[in-house]
């Protein structure tokens, strides 16, 4: 049986990298005595898959990973047991049972929502809010995407599903995060493109980024229906 776990990662924990978080949860699952399924062989591993790696320095209230379990009592109990063995800065927000046909965690990721604010004194310019608005409203937003293998010229407009400037002067972005194709857009990249368009030098450190949640798409290519990744599961 497959179980999906939603957690938050905040405060000092933002400095813990993705691989260390995986190790952290492998040990947490042992401490919590969860009847997780292991692979066979000389060094058995837990059957575990993370949805969308979070970069060092980012906080999140919507992280997910899936595990395979042999038995359980209730999802609520599993959540409790896990919350008793984590450290401050990590909180298990939800544990749900996935239907048998649920896709794997990483392939299911379709979109992510982020809140971005500038560190004090590091705003790009005084009127950045209106400039950012017109930046987002363009027909196309050309950008350069650098991956390990290539440098691509892409248009990020189709992947910028929603944007908003909140009353507290932070930016809310809802972005394509599917791992297929060139669709996956990181929030820093949007801001970097904006800075470049404004002719301002970009230092990624100026941003404080929180991933609000991660979503899967229950709709179609043309009519998306994004829901948080835990909503495909059941909570009993």
């Amino acid at each position: 049986m497959k179980v999906r776990i939603k957690f938050s990662k905040t405060g000092p924990l933002k400095f813990i990298g993705h691989l260390d978080m995986m190790r952290f949860f492998q040990k947490a699952i042992r401490r919590a005595d969860i009847d997780v399924t292991y692979t066979t062989g000389f060094s058995p591993h837990q059957v575990m898959a993370f949805a969308n790696p979070l970069g060092v320095g980012l906080e999140s209230t919507g992280e997910y990973f899936d595990i395979e379990v042999n038995s359980y009592t209730t999802m609520a109990e599993m959540k409790d047991k896990l919350n008793q063995v984590v450290v401050p800065g990590v909180e298990i927000l939800d544990v749900c049972l996935l239907p048998d046909d649920a896709g794997n965690a990483m392939a299911s990721v379709a979109a992510a929502r982020y809140r971005i604010s500038f560190r004090e004194g590091m705003e790009p310019c005084a009127d950045w809010e209106s400039r950012f608005a017109s930046f987002c409203e363009q027909e196309t937003i050309p950008a350069t995407k650098t991956t390990k293998k290539s440098v691509l010229e892409i248009d990020i407009k189709p992947s910028l599903y929603e944007w908003q400037i909140l009353p507290d002067h932070s930016i809310m972005l809802f972005l394509n995060a599917s791992s297929s194709g060139t669709g996956n857009i990181k929030p820093a990249m949007v801001l970097e493109t904006f800075f470049k368009a404004e002719g301002i030098e970009f230092d990624p450190y100026c941003l404080c980024i929180t991933r609000i949640d991660t979503y899967t798409d229950l709709g179609t290519e043309d009519a998306h229906r994004f829901v948080p990744m835990n909503e495909v599961g059941t909570s009993c």
Partner: protein, 630 residues
């Protein structure tokens, strides 16, 4: 669980994002202990002066951390050497060194305890003090500064670093901290001076060495003339502290579990302390006498509890010679059964290779991927007798043949170069033994079964470094040139072997070994060299890429200290050594006897279980000394 996400950090985001592995500095790990500052009397920082991944792997600190935090009036935290990247930033921005749990400056603590596990960390001790803004020399400290305590194996010759410490705790940490803390509280309450506190410590608490209360005078030839207390009531000899009941002593059931991968990323079960063997080069084998075992049922309970509390996926046993633990079979069988249920790996320490250990090893590891390890230390039986290493050629060959039959085809061999009385024949013996093992493989395993790419032998040599409190403390150490010649002789000898293509040879760096040799048997005169070398930028000497031999040698010259005095000089039997005022239980007479048996007679000495040698450690009246002998 209470989610306290607003915990402050000593380092700002820009720093933490700019340095390597910020996880080293944010604390917050599973099982780290957080206390309310308002409700405790004593703040203690325990330090391992090397990088986090190394320091966190050390069992001793985990034991003391756990013990001290069980005291209601004490909060013990951890601190390690900031890596070079952060070190530079902290100096530039004047950020004081902080403890991981509270992120508070070390300078505000009552005690800073530093465990000193190897000589090449001496400059890192100064780094810790410096970054903490604590005067490097004890004489410049006031009540404004923590009491700086040294502990660990290097304190059995504390003299090279004596000026940097307020006091050294000689022996095992479990026994006297409570007394020390109580005396501290009393002295503080009575508004005693710092010096009065140290004096009362030296006078009343066993195992405490306060360097400032001892004077050394030297003879014209540079050796020690006298070493005496300069205050009344301070003991002339300090005897090591030792845990007498290892089963019922304190042990961490909830060790701290780091986020980042560390060297010892597993549950460590200490099964015994000490070693019955008495290899003559080995310092640990003398320092921790007599052997004391932990009860096997207690160990089983610890294994289960610690695995549960940490979530580690691996467990290993810790001791100097696990094969000598009397209930080893029972313990390992329990672990195999229990760990298999929990999908926990067992990482076995190097066991003596025999039918039992091969059977066990084949159960817990993939024989095709794992290797057999032998530490003959010397190439010929003659030299192995000199060093009292019981392992014979037959043991090694028979063990290997059994292992080859079981599917193993990788062998690791460890040797030392530069041992007392070593000749070219002994060096050739290293190559010959390696060759014989390869030949045994070809004889044992038929061609069609050599599935795993045939036999691979890795022979490694380190350079012999004489250490205090060993029978070889009188020995002359080789020069760098001699060491390198010996390594090249070894390489050539291996190249002439029939099976040389199957043998890979590794040897250690010679400069760092010589440096370690100088510091190991150094005296107080070396302290000024260490201080100057540190000020010239030497630290992380244990890390090859940061060890600056030329700076060190230049500093010796500037300070007018001859490094050869500590290494290549012949020592007479009646020389007073800088560490003679300490006692680890083993008498100097016994060590002398062993030195002569080695060098003039070349005969071995039976181990403690076969026959007591009257080494002196029976004064503790525990462990192997009180066992009935068969």
């Amino acid at each position: 669980m209470n989610q306290n996400t607003t915990q402050k950090l000593a380092l700002t985001d820009d720093i933490l994002l700019a340095i390597e592995k910020p996880a080293r500095y944010i604390g917050n790990e599973v099982n780290a202990v957080i206390k309310d500052k308002e409700k405790i009397d004593i703040r203690m920082a325990m330090c391992f002066p090397d990088v986090y991944e190394i320091g966190m792997s050390h069992l001793g600190i985990q034991i003391l951390y756990d013990m001290l935090n069980h005291y209601e009036d004490t909060w013990c935290e951890r601190v390690y050497s900031p890596w070079v990247d952060l070190d530079a930033i902290m100096r530039e921005r004047h950020i004081p060194l902080f403890a991981l749990e509270s992120q508070d400056p070390i300078k505000d603590f009552d005690f800073l305890g530093i465990t000193i596990q190897y000589e090449l960390c001496y400059t890192n001790i100064l780094q810790i003090l410096d970054l903490s803004d604590i005067p490097l020399e004890a004489k410049d400290r006031t009540w404004e500064h923590p009491i700086v305590i040294g502990g660990g194996p290097c304190t059995y010759n504390p003299e090279p670093i004596a000026p940097f410490f307020d006091l050294f705790y000689i022996g095992e940490g479990e026994t006297r901290y409570r007394d020390l803390l109580d005396l501290y509280k009393k002295c503080k309450a009575e508004h005693k001076s710092r010096e009065e506190f140290l004096l009362e410590t030296a006078r009343t608490i066993p195992g405490m060495y306060v360097p400032q209360f001892y004077d050394v005078t030297y003879k014209e030839d540079g050796t020690i003339e006298s070493f005496t207390p300069n205050k009344e009531g301070v003991p002339a000899t300090i005897t090591k502290e030792m845990v007498t009941d290892l089963t019922h002593t304190t042990y961490p059931e909830k060790p701290v579990v780091p986020f980042t991968k560390i060297t010892q990323d597993r549950v460590v079960l200490e099964i015994q302390r000490g070693c019955i063997r008495g290899c003559r080069f080995c310092q640990a084998g003398q320092l921790y006498r007599p052997v004391r075992e932990k009860d096997v049922d207690t160990l089983k309970q610890y294994a289960v509890t610690m695995l549960k509390n940490t979530g580690h996926e691996e467990i290993s046993l810790s001791s100097l010679s696990s094969s000598d633990y009397s209930a080893l079979n029972e313990l390992i069988e329990f672990l195999i059964e229990d760990c298999d249920k929990r999908r926990v790996n067992i990482s076995l320490p190097s066991l003596r290779i025999d039918a039992f250990s091969l059977d066990v090893m084949s159960k817990v590891q993939d024989v095709k991927k794992s290797s057999l390890t032998f530490a003959p230390e010397a190439g010929t039986q003659r030299l192995r007798d000199v060093i009292n290493k019981g392992l014979t050629r037959e043991d090694i060959l028979n063990g290997s043949i059994e292992a080859f039959k079981g599917g193993w085809s990788r062998v690791k061999l460890y040797f030392m170069l530069g041992l007392p009385t070593e000749t070219e024949e002994d060096i050739a013996g290293i190559a010959e033994l390696s060759n014989e093992i390869a030949a045994a493989y070809f004889e044992t395993v038929p061609k069609e079964e050599r599935s795993n790419g045939s036999i691979q032998i890795v022979a490694s040599t380190s350079f012999f470094i004489p250490k205090p409190f060993t029978p070889f403390q009188w020995a002359r150490m080789c020069t760098k040139e001699e060491f390198l010649d010996k390594a090249s002789l070894t390489r050539k000898a291996i190249m002439t072997q029939l099976n040389q293509k199957r043998i890979k040879y590794n040897w250690h760096e010679a400069d760092a070994s010589v440096m370690e040799g100088i510091l190991a048997r150094g005296d107080r005169k070396i302290a000024s060299v260490i201080l100057s070398a540190y000020k010239k930028g030497c630290f992380y000497d244990a890390w090859g890429e940061y060890f600056k031999n030329d700076v060190w040698m230049e500093t010796f010259a500037e300070c007018n200290v001859d490094p050869d005095f500590y290494t290549v000089r012949e020592r007479s039997l009646d020389e007073i050594f800088p560490w003679d005022f300490l006692s680890c239980g083993v008498s100097k007479d016994f060590l002398k006897r062993e030195w002569l048996r080695a060098t003039t007679e070349g005969v071995t000495t039976p181990n403690c279980r076969l026959q007591c040698q009257g080494c002196g450690a029976n004064q503790y009246g525990v462990g192997v000394c009180t066992e009935g002998r068969s």
